[in-house]
């Protein structure tokens, strides 16, 4: 996906003024935040589950090579072919080669964020293959030629009216306004594609090492059609998604849907193991699993390693007060919110997303809701440090910090500066005791007044006490 994260500030400003988006975001916030809060109460000890889940993920990541080899061996034993993609381009090349090998003309897709990283649809279309997204949200976005704005609810930025207009225009059928009618129309449009597709492309929420299976959690049922109906199934996911056992999966599945959508369990949990055997009536004849690195292995053994625990539930963005106000598109790449503020610089280049690690008040909400306890603010702070070390911060900011640090370390000078500042700011503010503007402070004063200092510093007054 083309990265536009360098324009975060401008995009965010635009999104804050988009009243329709603001309505959609307010609605989504209510849905995700409050339903999750209820859902986690169903678990007797949610914190113990978080500890266990983080432990499982850490165990895998520590010995990632081992579990990946075990996964490949067991998947191959069931007739699947495992492909290793080092880069996003490799993914596109591999999938195009598979399509070519099997004479594929049409592919149906269920949701896969990794395929968004690679811009797989464009690559397949360039190879002359028709690609149809079948997740309702992704289908809407494909019609609208827009990228997703949320990893779980990709179309959360659109309202029902937007969808009514879009369907009327693209399907060339009478305008529907009810949600059931809109869903029915989408199903009617999609059904022939499921039946005629040669290839189904899915993601995988988890890879199960002991069985060589891929697992997806879905709500619409399209994922099950995509993975079982076409003769070729291609599952694409990151190498970090491997989990040792089905028992571990049970723990993670208690957390994933609850954290993501506030559901106790999703409507479908599909475990795909191997190709259709001779005595089975359903399933693909060819099963290819593409395991993607694209920057992941570089995090191993470093300060950013905890990010590999991520199970892509989206709780961090749902609860982030910045995301809640600007939405996902402002972040400019596949993953928005705090997760994106860490992943985008790591996978798409630190210099391409300078604002993202700074676009957080460090309120800490993301870290407390994360089901696998990723210390997201700490990781963002580490990326800020990397920017400083690599000289990527603006000169003015570096100079201001240097002066501030120097003054703070010399209390006599610090006392003199604050002595003067307290008096000047108090004098300028006058009887109102508010500053409406001050030089260099428009970031603050464009939207707020600055309450003025009382006039004398604590240290002066204390000395006179």
């Amino acid at each position: 996906m083309q990265i536009t994260s360098m324009h975060f500030k401008a995009r965010a400003r635009e999104k804050l003024r988009d009243t329709q988006l603001q309505q959609a975001l307010a609605k989504a916030q209510g849905k995700f935040v409050y339903t999750r809060a209820d859902a986690i109460l169903e678990l007797e000890n949610f914190e113990a589950h978080r500890d266990a889940a983080a432990g499982i993920r850490d165990r895998v990541i520590r010995d990632l090579d081992l579990y990946l080899e075990q996964f490949e061996k067991n998947a191959a034993a069931r007739g699947a072919v495992v492909h290793w993609a080092e880069t996003a381009q490799d993914v596109n090349r591999i999938v195009c080669e598979i399509a070519d090998l099997h004479g594929v003309r049409k592919a149906v897709k269920s949701k896969s964020m990794v395929s968004e990283e690679c811009a797989l649809n464009e690559a397949l279309e360039a190879a002359g293959i028709e690609v149809v997204e079948t997740d309702l949200g992704e289908y809407i976005l494909q019609l609208a030629h827009e990228p997703p704005s949320h990893i779980v609810a990709p179309v959360v930025h659109k309202t029902k009216d937007d969808v009514s207009d879009l369907f009327e225009q693209k399907h060339k059928k009478p305008r529907k306004t009810g949600i059931p009618e809109l869903c029915r129309e989408a199903r009617e449009m999609l059904r022939p594609h499921f039946l005629s597709a040669d290839m189904g492309i899915s993601g995988a929420n988890f890879l199960i090492a002991e069985t060589g299976s891929t697992l997806i959690v879905t709500n619409e049922g399209n994922g099950r059609l995509v993975t079982t109906m076409p003769r070729v199934h291609v599952a694409i996911t990151g190498i970090e998604k491997v989990v040792p056992t089905l028992e571990d999966i049970a723990t993670l599945l208690r957390l994933l849907p609850r954290s993501a959508t506030g559901q106790s369990i999703t409507n479908y949990v599909s475990i795909n193991t191997g190709v259709k055997s001779r005595d089975e009536s359903d399933g693909p004849e060819n099963f290819h699993i593409v395991l993607v690195d694209a920057g992941r292995s570089k995090l191993l053994g470093g300060a950013m390693q905890p990010m590999l625990r991520c199970i892509r539930c989206g709780a961090c963005m749902n609860h982030c007060p910045v995301y809640q106000n600007v939405g996902g598109h402002a972040y400019g790449w596949v993953y928005p919110g705090p997760m994106g503020s860490v992943l985008t610089p790591l996978y798409a280049g630190l210099q391409n997303a300078l604002d993202l690690p700074h676009a957080s008040t460090f309120c800490g909400k993301c870290a407390v809701v994360c089901p696998v306890k990723i210390p997201l603010p700490d990781l963002m702070r580490n990326l800020r440090e990397q920017q400083t070390e690599q000289g990527l911060r603006p000169g003015q900011e570096r100079l201001a910090l240097k002066i501030w640090a120097w003054a703070a370390l010399h209390h006599g000078i610090y006392a003199a500066i604050t002595f003067i500042a307290a008096r000047i700011l108090n004098g300028v503010a006058g009887g109102e005791k508010l500053l409406h503007y001050f030089p260099g402070g428009h970031g603050w004063t464009d939207g707020r007044d600055l309450p003025a200092p009382e006039g004398r510093t604590f240290r002066e007054l204390y000395r006179e006490r």
Partner: protein, 243 residues
């Protein structure tokens, strides 16, 4: 017990009366209060801007200044969070410093947390008549578990009624340099907070961090609300004489 008051740079410059209110509360709790005259800042602005070296230098300065205090107390969850949670991380690879810094971190407390859990303050000197709503500042709440402590203390004031606002635990949008770097996002977050405060029906919002105070008060006034008062919890608890 000897308690070092960490005034915080914002209180020193902007609202000395909060510092005196904290002082009065600590004295009311029977503490011998020391206020090191050379103190400046905890180092958080540098730390959160990606400049570890200045944060480390300031951490060592704080360590020297509060040597000999049984406890260090700050009228801020944010600065306390920096000292309690983040100072030790700065010296993870320096075992010699780490021991002393960790020991400092463990005896550093946010004001209301200290008054309730260490000093066990029984009688609150302040008086207030009317209703207030309480904003939970992020660092205090999520790094230090400051939630019931201020409410427990406020409940000791006869005539004070607490009206909780919706989403009292949601960030006000301050975030230090975030408030200037991303002024429009920060303003929107402050705006949401102001609406929640006004919807609570309380004529005053009380909180424990000066950063949030300036942000919320600044936005309320720009919105044309000159009535809702924004008070630090120490001001209310210490009462008139302290301010």
């Amino acid at each position: 017990m000897r308690v070092g008051l960490f005034v915080t740079c914002l209180v020193d410059l902007m609202r000395p009366r909060i510092g005196f209110a904290a002082l009065r509360l600590l004295e009311a709790a029977g503490c011998e209060v020391i206020v090191p005259g050379t103190q400046t800042c905890c180092g958080q602005p540098g730390y959160n801007s990606g400049d570890r070296s200045s944060a480390k230098a300031l951490a060592l300065k704080v360590l020297r200044e509060f040597d000999g205090c049984d406890y260090v107390v700050a009228p801020s969850g944010s600065c306390t969070g920096m000292m309690r949670e983040h100072y030790p991380r700065l010296f993870q690879d320096e075992p010699q410093q780490l021991e002393k810094i960790s020991e400092l971190a463990q005896r550093t407390y946010e004001l209301t947390d200290f008054l309730v859990n260490v000093a066990k303050l029984q009688n609150v000197p302040g008086s207030f008549h009317g209703s207030i709503t309480y904003h939970d500042s992020c660092s205090g709440l999520r790094e230090l578990g400051v939630k019931n402590q201020p409410r427990q203390l406020l409940a000791k004031i006869p005539g004070l009624q607490l009206k909780e606002m919706q989403d009292c635990e949601t960030c006000c949008g301050f975030g230090g340099t975030f408030s200037v770097k991303f002024g429009d996002i920060s303003t929107r977050m402050a705006d949401n907070k102001c609406s929640a405060i006004q919807a609570s029906g309380a004529p005053a919002v009380v909180l424990g961090d000066l950063g949030c105070m300036l942000n919320i008060e600044g936005r309320l006034r720009r919105r044309g609300d000159n009535k809702t008062s924004v008070l630090h919890v120490a001001e209310i608890l210490a009462g008139e004489e302290g301010t």
